[in-house]
Amino acid sequence: MTWRGVRATALAVALTVPFALPFAYLLVRNGQDLGGLWGAVSDTRLVGPLLRSLALGISVAAASAVLGTAAAWLVARTELRGRRMWALLLCLPLVIPSFVGAVALIAAFAPGGLVEDLLGIGWLPEVSGFKGAFIVLTLLTYPYVFLPVMARLRGLPPSLEESARLLGRRPVEVFLTVVMPQARAAIAAGALLVFLYVISDFGAVQLLRYDTLTRAIYADRLLDPATSIALSLVLGLLAVAVVVMERRSSRVGLRNQTHTGPPLMVPLRGAGMPAYLFLVLLIGFALVAPIAVLAFWAIHGIARGSPDATSVLADPGMILEPLLSTAGVSAITALAAVVIVLPIAFRSVRRPGRLGEMLAGTVVGGFALPGLVTALAFVFFTLSAPGPLGALYQTLPLLVLAYVVHHGALALGAAQSAVAGVPARLDDAARIMGRGRLRRFAGVELPLMLPGLAAGAGLVLLSTAKELPMTLLLAPAGFSTLATRVWQAAELAAYAEAAIYALVLVAISAVLTWFLVVRPALRSWAPGPLPGSAPPGAGAPPDRRSPEPTTP
């Protein structure tokens, strides 16, 4: 390795260190206090939350797998009208953070909410607990299955299904014997992402009062930090195991084969009405209902002049301030994330090998660790650290660092594809022409990578804007984002105020999602059912990793 190579490697390794920090801290802290760890793990107080996390994770993952797969098959493989529109609408619940979904569910059934007021139902069902968390999380996470399965189905050579049909099998049989086995890996990968999302979720379970691991960790953090740290380690190990499994399962796949003409679509015939009804209900409950509930509260609150709503309206700073701090801190985080992961991306792509894989894996590990756990690790680390490190507690730099550690993987994926997209030969060519390393980077590589890096930064921006538990734990006193405002208002049952902040947040999230996730996906979506006009190879499936789960 040349001296320059050594330097590049050293830089990449050094930049990877912060990503390993939270998990390493949890290991060390628990290792120092094995008795406390054993006490917490053997305690019955662990078993309950752990079982509840697993139960919620498994049931939501299963339900999402069913809903997401059914929707993906309908959109990708049947004679559905307006498939582009359906595909778009079915992705959109991604823009609603889980705590906003939970607020919407609670507010809908709260006294004075949409259900009581509009429908005139006097008896309001209890929505908290498992039931509510299950409903909210399933409706918000099925896109994590829908997207990869749809990409997989669209990538499947149509000749497989056509062969099966020509060999005399009915569409249902073909689905069960040919399509399902091929889509299984994608479904499993999607379901694992959902499982990870659910066990990492803090906002929805906290608001809906379902005692999972995250809720126990949050509750114990002040009075019983030892238990909190032990439970964090358990949750962290679980999450990392899930991510390892997910990466294994998503690697399995059949290479795409040449498409010739339009794939054979399954006629809906008599099943048309139920199919459309299913999609309408799914989108209705997952997307329209939460927004309608929030809009109802916001409008009613303003119309009736409820104190919380009017106070928000009276002072423009009430909205502007969290809006600006959300935008500012997210933008800084996005920029920092790209700058930090770029050397790691270069090292792992240009010199593929075990070290590169380890570095990239560490960054992904930072993403796997639930945001709440990452934030807690930073809290305890800075509080127990001596001297200048301790002063970092509840400062913006630490908050941004924690954000970067948690969301950096999103930027890394984009940066890796950006680096891979620049042929190394270009660098060689520039080098032969006598350009120095920095000038080569600035003049040749950076301009080519910019769109990819911007997309990565955008994903980080989007996830940071929706982030809740890390902000709650690490934000400086007096610093609030839209997410924390929604949270505080919801805890006070000030639903009108919560709704206003939530709608602003969802609107920002929707705009960002449109530019970063939906538009690129639609661009790669060949002109659908109109055959003949599809250029070969244009049907590249939307990048299934782009909308990553974000700890809400």
Binding site: P157, S159, L160, E162, S163, A164, R165, L166, L167, G168, R169, R170, T177, V178, P181, Q182, L254, Q257, T258, T260, G261, P262, L264, L530, P531, G532, S533
Partner: protein
């Protein structure tokens, strides 16, 4: 036919126009528009039972769309398709692909990756026979005895395509469609499989439509060849018909290497830059005569100048200029001339065809 095919309940037997009885496959006036572009226009075609029709054409001429219409994977906008004298696609009837009893081999093997080779071959058989002797027989036919338990991914391209063929043959379909099945294979493998498929289809007595853009392949495999150009059938006939008696200028230039030499015809012959050429069809006045390079021989003389020699090893093409008109002349081995030499040219072929200018 002893037992009616299953699609009879779907679709009444409609006698097709112009008496295609005896044809295993008949198409009448089939048209298809895709993305605003007419891809198929007025296709009429008959394939007698037990014969192989090679459907030849450049890429984008609509041959794959035609095949998909026959299979039921696509539906013509206009026209009628009959298989074994039963209409499978017409103005008010459309038999779904799974009920047509048509076998198809795609460009890629399209094997189900989650099933064994035997599982693939048996996929189209009745449940009881899915791992019985019929599967073994079909595999033996394509030379893959004993491969039933292997997974498709463990086979290379050639054997995979054989399995695909066995899968199509195993169900004993009334018609087999092959859509450029060798286009993804290496040249030597192609040549092997080509002659083997020819033998297999003959042995099975199968009726088949074989799509290809390779003229050699079409001539080798097809009992008859249908040339398709820009969505229309330009000519149907034996390979010799297409090569020696092309129906149009376009056919003449697409099939093989051709000189189109200006000439003046006077009925049975035409006076060309290479001398007098007999005509298969009488013509008069100014015409272009189709003259294959191998039908021109060099002889002593000074009518033509050698401009270039394309040496291929087993043969060579002498590019000459005869009375200001380029003439290509094919000779075996290496020609004893150099560029700039003056030679004479004479016509040595069968009666040719002429198109008026």
């Amino acid at each position: 036919m002893e037992t009616l095919p299953p699609h009879i309940e779907m679709c009444p037997a409609v006698p097709t126009r112009a008496d295609p009885r005896g044809s295993a496959l008949a198409l009448r006036g089939v048209e298809r528009v895709l993305g605003g572009r007419p891809v198929l226009q007025g296709i009429d075609l008959d394939v007698p039972a037990g014969t192989v029709l090679a459907l030849l054409g450049p890429s984008g001429c609509g041959k794959t769309t035609l095949l998909r219409c026959i299979a039921g994977l696509d539906r013509p906008d206009v026209g009628m398709i009959a298989v074994d004298d039963f209409t499978v696609s017409g103005p008010d009837c459309f038999v779904r692909p799974e009920r047509r009893r048509i076998g198809m081999v795609f460009q890629e093997p399209a094997l189900f990756p989650n099933r064994t080779v035997g599982g693939n071959v048996g996929y189209g058989l009745p449940r009881a026979e899915r791992d019985g002797p019929r599967v073994e027989r079909a595999l033996a036919l394509v030379g893959l005895t004993g491969a039933a338990a292997r997974m498709p991914a463990t086979l290379s391209g050639g054997p995979q395509q054989r399995v695909s063929l066995a899968r199509a043959l195993a169900a004993e379909p009334s018609l087999i469609l092959l859509d450029e099945p060798f286009s993804a294979l290496d040249a030597p493998l192609r040549a092997d499989l080509r002659s083997e498929v020819r033998r297999l289809l003959a042995a099975a007595g199968a009726t088949a439509v074989f799509v290809t853009h390779d003229q050699e392949e079409a001539f080798l495999i097809g009992d008859r060849v249908a040339l398709m150009l820009e969505g229309r059938i330009a000519q149907v006939g034996t390979a010799a018909d297409l090569y020696e008696r092309p129906a149009s200028r376009a056919v003449a230039t697409f099939v093989g290497d051709a000189n189109l030499l200006p000439a003046e015809a006077d009925g049975g012959t035409a006076m060309t830059p290479v001398g007098r050429v007999p005509l298969a069809r009488p013509a008069h006045g100014l015409v272009d005569v189709v003259i294959r390079p191998e039908c021109v021989a060099a002889c002593p003389g000074d009518d033509a100048i050698v401009e270039r020699i394309e040496y291929y090893g087993h043969d060579a093409v002498i590019v000459t200029s005869s009375r200001g008109c380029p003439v290509r002349c094919r000779v075996m081995g290496r020609p004893p001339f150099d560029e700039g030499d003056r030679i004479g040219l004479e016509y040595v072929g069968e009666p040719s065809v002429a198109f008026s200018r």
